[in-house]
Each structure stands twice: as structure tokens, then as C-alpha cells.
């Protein structure tokens, strides 16, 4: 079946539970096989809180570095930010803000979408 396009969605807020970091470890893991799958990461719902600039990345910076080096993108859904009253100016500059319509396009383009 070979190389696939995988979308990882992060739906839970950072800290309190480990999914914000173990989801990224899985995302890196998916890129680590013989077939180099394309992996995009998008933050949705409460996951959007991870996109805030001040979030401590001590547990995640290696994973994020690995993903970025392989040109895998990190994105956050604009509507999730709006629903949580988070201004776009508060978002880390390495996380791209995209609309729900664009999220849907990523879902449609992916071979599989896996949510954490």
C-alpha cells in the first residue's frame, strides 16, 4: 500500500493529560517507518490551547523539531480559537491558523485521520 497521507488531530488541552505530547510522539512515529508517510498535525477544539505562544514545550520541542524538519505542518483551527476567545496574535508563529473549511480539505486529502 506504501506511502500514505496521515492527518493527526490533537483535540485535548495541553497538560492535565499526556495526549498533547504522546500524540506528537505518535505523529513522529508515523514518519519513522520504511515508507515515509506524510504527516500533518492540526489542533482542534480544546487542542487549540496548545497553539498559544506561551505554552511550555519542554516535553514536545524535539517532536516538533523533527516534524518541521521533514516539512510536516502544524496547524490550528481558526473557529476553535474563536470559540475559546483566543486572539490570533496569541498564537505561536510556527503554527499556521487555518479555517474549518481548510481542515475539512486536509481530512479529505488524507488517507487516514487519527485523533488524540
Amino acid at each position: 500500500m506504501g506511502e500514505k497521507n496521515v492527518l493527526i488531530t490533537m483535540n485535548q488541552a495541553p497538560y492535565g493529560s499526556i495526549y498533547y505530547t504522546e500524540g506528537l510522539r505518535a505523529a513522529v512515529g508515523v514518519t519513522s517507518g520504511i515508507d515515509e508517510h506524510k504527516v500533518n498535525v492540526v489542533y482542534l477544539g480544546d487542542g487549540a490551547y496548545f497553539a498559544i505562544e506561551g505554552v511550555d514545550r519542554k516535553d514536545t520541542k524535539t517532536y516538533i523539531g523533527t516534524l518541521k524538519k521533514a516539512e510536516n505542518k502544524l496547524m490550528v483551527e481558526k473557529e476553535s480559537l474563536e470559540e475559546r476567545n483566543i486572539e490570533e496574535s496569541k498564537i505561536a508563529e510556527d503554527i499556521e491558523i487555518i479555517s474549518r473549511t481548510e481542515v475539512l480539505k486536509l481530512v479529505q486529502a488524507a488517507d487516514v485521520t487519527i485523533g488524540f
Binding site: 488531530t9 483535540n11 482542534l44 477544539g45 473557529e79 475539512l104 487516514v112 485521520t113
Partner: protein
Amino acid sequence: MANVYLIDKKFGNNSLRIAGQDKDAEIVLIQDGIYLDVKKIENSGNKVYAVKDDVEKRGYTEILSKNIELIDYGKLVDLILANKVVNFA
């Protein structure tokens, strides 16, 4: 090929909004996902299923919207393998 959204309650709100905009979506409510209010996506015309076992053991058969089709694990496997899966569980 449809996009089969497997949706549990904890990721339900945001994922239903995405699925509601996807004209190729078929939605399967799984585990506590059967408690989700799918009224907001009923106008999308998307097919909504719920896992029969999850509905019955929660005593929810009569409460669940009649527009939702109950499926067993065999039918769920058919849907999963014949389509693309969008996991929100």
C-alpha cells in the same frame, strides 16, 4: 468512497462540525458518542449510524433519534474497510 467519521463523545462537538460540512461523510457514533446531539448536522443530509451494542447497553434505543441507523460490528467493519476512516475516538 465515503469518509467514515468514527465519533466518540469527548471529541464530539468539533468533529461533528467538520463532518457536518463534509458532503461525503458517513457518521458512526461509537461508545459514549451515542449521547451526542446530532440535530445540528441533520440538515447536512449525511447518513448517521450508531453502534447497536453501545446504544442497547446504555438503554438508549428508544431515546436515540429515529433518523440514526443502528449497526452491528460486522456492518461497522464493512463500512470501515470500504471507506476512508476519520477517527475522532
